[in-house]
Amino acid sequence: MNKKDQKFIKRIRTNILKLTFSAKSSHIGSSLSIVEILYTLYFNILKKNDRFILSKGHAALALYCILYEKGFITYNVLNTYGQDGTRLMAHVSHKVKGVEFSTGSLGHGLPVAVGKALYFKTNNKKNKVYVVISDGELNEGSTWESLLFASHHKLHNLNIILDNNKIQSMGPVKNIIKLEPLKNKFESFGAKVFRCNGHNIKDLKKKLLIKNIKKPKIIIADTIKGKGVSFMENNNLWHYKNPNIKQLNQALKEINKNYA
């Protein structure tokens, strides 16, 4: 990771931790797992007329922190996250400047993204559509319904990034509803599939920039839930819990060290 990227990544993770603490909110692990994915999209990939949908709406805080870095919202607005009377709710909201679509109930983002991609393709528009989905979201039938449709209509402008952090609400994905072999599943549904390290910006960028694919693209981004804080990593507790002051300070210390 270069110095500039590192500086942003550190600040985004720091803000996620501090704001989860002050709002006493949840889903800290889910937000920490997509920091590099969102950063790569917003700082390297998305063009003016492209569309981005965060289908795993419970990681809203990660997106709000990115929108702050991109100048869509001010620091004061960001700081209202989760507080009484704010629009920055804990599931991503289109009432916040820069947010394309509200989500929060899983399995909604991909169908909406498919509608947008279909519209652009049919009208010969160059806009691309990007959507981040979660692995738990692959339990939803609607995700697979829309994948079938996207493949049938060869929506080459549709880019799906799977945040494959391998943990869902009640525990490890493999113990709840087995998803692997994911690559084979997606390919059999008619998508072009790539796999990468979801915390490696260079790797993400490389896969996202692969061109001339005539069908929907899926990137399985292998990630770590709670990435960057040792006691939050791969620990399901941090899907729910917000840190106390001692845990916050410990977490911030680790982020400072890991992204120095």
Partner: protein, 288 residues
């Protein structure tokens, strides 16, 4: 009503409107006049209502109007959360069309009866309900919704033979329309069931009004147009709970004016039986 609906959309698109249709593998021998002329503006989502509705919201979010066409329960209950979160919450120009209102698909059984749809659709804050009672109401409502695109639910009768109004009508949300001038003290108010009622009663003994467009946000308009009456009989091909009559009762609760209301609706007992629409309506429909 289905054919007239499609004819209207073709006509409006020819006049330069940007209307799309999404279906869930239904509409055989109905949608063809549209797909022949506008093949790139109609999509078959297959038998997948959640994707159909989410995708329609996605298309509509790119600033075009989408009509989602299906039968009764499929475009409502099967994808209720997509309607709530994707269409209504985002206030997108999607019109959800359900064919076979009430007991229109009587002998197909309870799975295909649309007798709780108002209850669901009228709970959404941005949703307009459009329930035309004849061809003129349908055409006029369509002109309104294409001119004022917003989340809406269009409930169509399966039958094609519908008489016309005597004079041209203009429909506004929440406003009632007088269809038959009879006894001025006996008021019948309905949404969508104009013909059913006119067939059964002597229209000289009652004045029949219709309310083709209504919803959560039009309660005040309706209250203002009905509080002049002393007695109202509401008639609908829907359950009482969450239905049109209940909605009228709620409108009147907003005023101190005392209006006696009698609600006529479909009996819950219809659930156990099948039969033609005529049979089911006679046995379980609104009673005189």
């Amino acid at each position: 009503m289905r054919k007239l609906f499609i004819e209207n959309l073709v006509k409006l698109n020819k006049r330069g409107k940007n209307i799309y249709i999404v279906i869930n593998d239904l509409g055989y021998n109905v949608v063809e006049p549209f797909s022949k002329i506008f093949p790139k503006r109609i999509f078959n989502a297959g038998v997948s209502e959640q994707n159909m509705m989410g995708m329609s919201a996605g298309i509509a979010s790119e600033k075009v109007q989408v009509f989602v066409y299906s039968i009764a329960n499929f475009s409502t209950f099967r994808c209720a959360e997509q309607i709530r979160n994707d269409v209504d919450y985002h206030n997108l120009p999607v019109t959800i069309v359900s064919v076979g209102s009430g007991l229109g698909y009587g002998n197909l059984g309870y799975t295909h009866h649309a007798i709780q749809d108002y209850a669901l659709m009228r709970s959404f804050p941005n949703m307009l309900i459009i329930s035309p009672g004849n061809n003129d109401e349908l055409s006029s409502s369509l002109r309104y919704i294409v001119k004022n695109p917003q989340p809406s639910y269009l409930r169509l009768d399966k039958d094609e033979i519908f008489q016309k109004n005597k004079r041209k009508i203009s429909i506004k949300p929440g406003k009632i329309i007088k269809l038959y001038s009879g006894n001025k003290k006996k008021i019948i108010l309905t949404t969508g069931n104009v013909q059913e009622i006119a067939k059964k009663i002597n229209t000289k003994n009652y004045s029949i009004y219709s309310l083709p467009i209504w919803g959560k946000k039009t309660k005040n308009e309706t209250l203002n147009s009905i509080k002049k009456f002393n007695e109202i009989i509401t008639v609908e091909d829907h359950f009482h709970d969450g239905g049109f009559g209940s909605w009228i009762n709620e409108c009147l609760k907003k005023s101190n004016k005392k209006v006696n209301v009698c609600n006529k609706y479909i009996s819950d007992k219809v659930i156990s039986y099948v039969g033609s629409k005529k049979y089911l309506m006679k046995k379980f429909g609104p009673k005189r």
